[in-house]
Symmetry: D2
């Protein structure tokens, strides 16, 4: 299979269920909505080693926010609903509530909601206020009054949608990965939780040499080991590989994100192949076949 | 006291001991060093509700980095040394190691060091390599090889250096706070851990109305409550207040950061007063008198 | 009249006919499309003292560009059609053609087109190529091949649409102006040609004191002269005023830009009034009444 | 010759005399100093087809500016002194004077100065004011008062310092060019006037096929023509080439800029060669040998 002259491997991405919340952060301008969003979603690349997975979903125009101000939508993902709640309390309370000019609102319609009660901080000076048809609280603070909703939808989503970008060299692979992340930024309901949206390292389960390691480098996917290991999966002429990992509120959202991300990546010169990561279909609940994702 | 026509209150900032590590992240360009730095230091505004305090210290020119590439210095702060170690393992392992083109090196000379052993991830394919006179490891991965040191200095630092910016209105206070943060970004060995470096909320210990709250809004410092509470500390004509909180590797670094931050803030039109936060000198080990900090 | 609590003066903006061209610049990523766009449209605030008026219209997603890459739409405006042609030759030839990874395409359907023949630069090595259903040229150069169309639509547009933002202080007025510019950036077919989209100076025709000056400061609109001149138009309590000037491909586009710009501006705290600039309706062909623009 | 494993061709850059002015633009923050600087220096890549060459020299910290605010230094270059004067009047008057919160000051000590008299715009309301030991004018305007000096140094400088970056592929060459420009941004007294600092097209004098063309593509330096023309200068395996062009206030400044730019470029993976452009030493007054520039 090919797309714009780039080989598309006939394989699939294997993904997992996860619980997802989505929050709309608004501010006096996009700069401050983004500052708050980045602080709130940092240290959130992988649930393996971070308190949660978290990332920026989408920049919101004033028409898309309850208070008519510029905003940024973020998502926070955890295997357990309680984990999502704890992370909302910690991350929103420490990183949005404290941020200049911000307000926050629920960004996910869902059957279940989690109460995130910040209004007690107002010590009795807080007040109820309708904002864009929503019931919110106003909490007096040092800069003025902070406005927030207190019920946040949570639902079953998908973690670990992914694809790989293989290029002749590292800089072409990186430029393609950057463009893929920019394109996915437009798809509502998805995040790319790794730094700048890109994964530079691949891993295999366990380790051959160090028995105490749960995971270690996947030597078959290391360009610099291509001629040193047996069965390398790195094609000749490939010197740089990046992975894009996607979490989404639904299979459809992840599928759309994979589609636009791959379409953006193959536009960059010297990208030679797109692949995806799976465990043979044995571990994950979801499978995203590149062929179907791209309609090939 | 006055500085450039702005009143300087004769008070002091009260601050606390904390353990600090400092890491140099380099990358192929400043963009990617900064992306990794932001992911690594996110969810790190206050040890009260975040896993640690963390922030960006300084942008590094190629001459300032061991591998001669562009870089960003970050700091990670925790009350306990073990806490710093756990946070370095988690944050560096998840957010620098996985980031495109990055390398990392120790950024703090100190008597004590913490071992952050990532080379086992290499599963035997890793190798030792000298970089800028330092002993580092090369670990083959998907994009190429990741380079890192494994011993990171940790020392006693200072948390909670601070000052307040009071202005006629919120936007002037915010612009002044932004400029203060930009100026402090140049002071080596200091971070402003809150979102975008700025704190919008002030708190008091406990709560009058809600006994289960450990902290609540400091109503005497809320401009919108100025005429509703007794003993408001908000002067007439002040409608916006922001706080800058500073962590540093030493008293000298925090003092210098307060100085340049205040000097930048008072340059902005409609800033009317600079103050600082303390607990009457009863709680913190360190006191930074504005008078001395500014040499007035 | 009021909008979100901000006074809207019952007045109108007076505007003029101008000739407009619109160009789509694409690149390997948005960064480089924007770099080229800024270089191309610089030194283009006002036809009074610049070679032309020029500015950035809109950031383009890959779906909006002929070659499926990220892009930026720009507009170039001159009183005369020949002036537009000369400016297209100079600006596109010097600032897009020379820029890394860029391509350029016509961005305006119009009855008349201007030939901008760059393919001769190829010295016979150039070749025709279809891109997105358009007839384009490929010109071999140092980085690879430059792709461009050679016929650019030109039509009668509108210059000098405008509104004024009056605020309690300069920083609030400036933040409101920034937000207005961001909002107008989304309206296709419009630019705000001044630096960062904002005008800091107002002028009157001629000068009372210096007879050799064709224009001089409009003292009645200077906050710092409020108490020094008779008949000041600056309301009490206003200390900062900015103007947004808009050029557009049509009256409808300018009207929409004024609407979204004003709606964004009034959201910023401490903005107190919106007005507009005119010459009593004696000079300009177009009048944009704020009442009608805002549907009040 | 080699630098960090990259071949350095034993050749030289040939450069020309030009007249240079340098202006310090300050603003309430770096954002607005930069917005004004970009507008002011746009449409300024080459004196061949632009009104002048112009670019951003350096970001200035508050300590480096007369008024203690953040700033950006720019340079404007023209073959003739009168040309510099006309360009200062036009560019500063239209693009700095009109920009929010800006002030401007002379940035070049020189024996000769050019009068740029903007104070008449004040229509008698202007006033003299000392700023940082300099004699300046305050001119009341809509946002507040504009502050500027009126005498700007002009001196003989150097135009056309340059080097070429050859890489295995376009994206590596581009990343290297970006890094070179970032490094040169730190060298006082130099600009890289092309879009984003980078030149994508190379030219030869005249044209073989089109006699009416004064310049055309240099086919020997086109990677895509490597196998189609005789005597191609593109080495095997090179697929992307960019040029960095440098103007400076002195030979020393240009030399230093070439040095730090090349040192930054060779750090990027897959860069294979650095060269420079000359006319055999027959046309330009200045020669910069790569060997001497780099101390090899």
């Amino acid at each position: 299979m090919e797309l714009e002259g780039v080989e598309i491997e006939d394989t699939f991405a294997e993904a997992f269920p996860i619980k997802v919340a989505r929050v709309l952060i608004t501010a006096v301008n996009e700069k401050w909505a983004m500052e708050a969003a980045k602080e709130t979603t940092g240290f959130g690349t992988s649930v393996i080693g971070c308190p949660s997975e978290a990332g920026i979903d989408k920049i919101l125009s004033p028409e898309e926010t309850p208070d008519g101000r510029p905003g940024v939508a973020i998502m926070i993902c955890h295997f357990k609903k309680d984990g999502v709640k704890g992370q909302l309390l910690g991350r929103l309370g420490q990183c949005v509530f404290t941020a200049p000019t911000t307000a926050m609102f629920n960004g996910l319609e869902a059957e279940e909601t989690l109460p995130i009660k910040l209004h007690f901080f107002g010590d009795g000076f807080e007040y109820e206020k309708e904002v864009g048809g929503r019931k919110a609280w106003g909490i007096p603070m040092m800069e003025g009054d902070f406005i927030c909703e207190e019920e946040y939808g949570v639902k079953a989503g998908v973690a670990g949608g992914n694809f790989f970008i293989l290029a002749k060299d590292q800089m072409s692979a990186l430029t393609a990965a950057e463009n893929a992340v920019s394109a996915i930024r437009q798809v509502e309901g998805t995040i790319t939780p790794f730094p700048g949206g890109v994964v530079a390292s691949g891993s295999k389960v366990g380790s051959k040499k160090y028995k105490f390691m749960h995971a270690s480098t996947n030597e078959k996917f290391c360009p610099t080991l291509r001629d040193k290991v047996e069965g390398s999966e790195i094609p000749e002429g490939v010197n740089g590989v990046y992975e894009i990992v996607i979490d989404g509120v639904s299979e459809e959202a992840v599928k759309e994100a994979m589609k636009v991300g791959i379409e953006a990546a193959v536009k960059v010169p010297d990208v030679v192949k797109i692949s995806a990561g799976n465990f043979g279909g044995t571990l994950g609940k979801y499978q995203f076949k590149l062929k179907e994702v791209l309609g090939l």
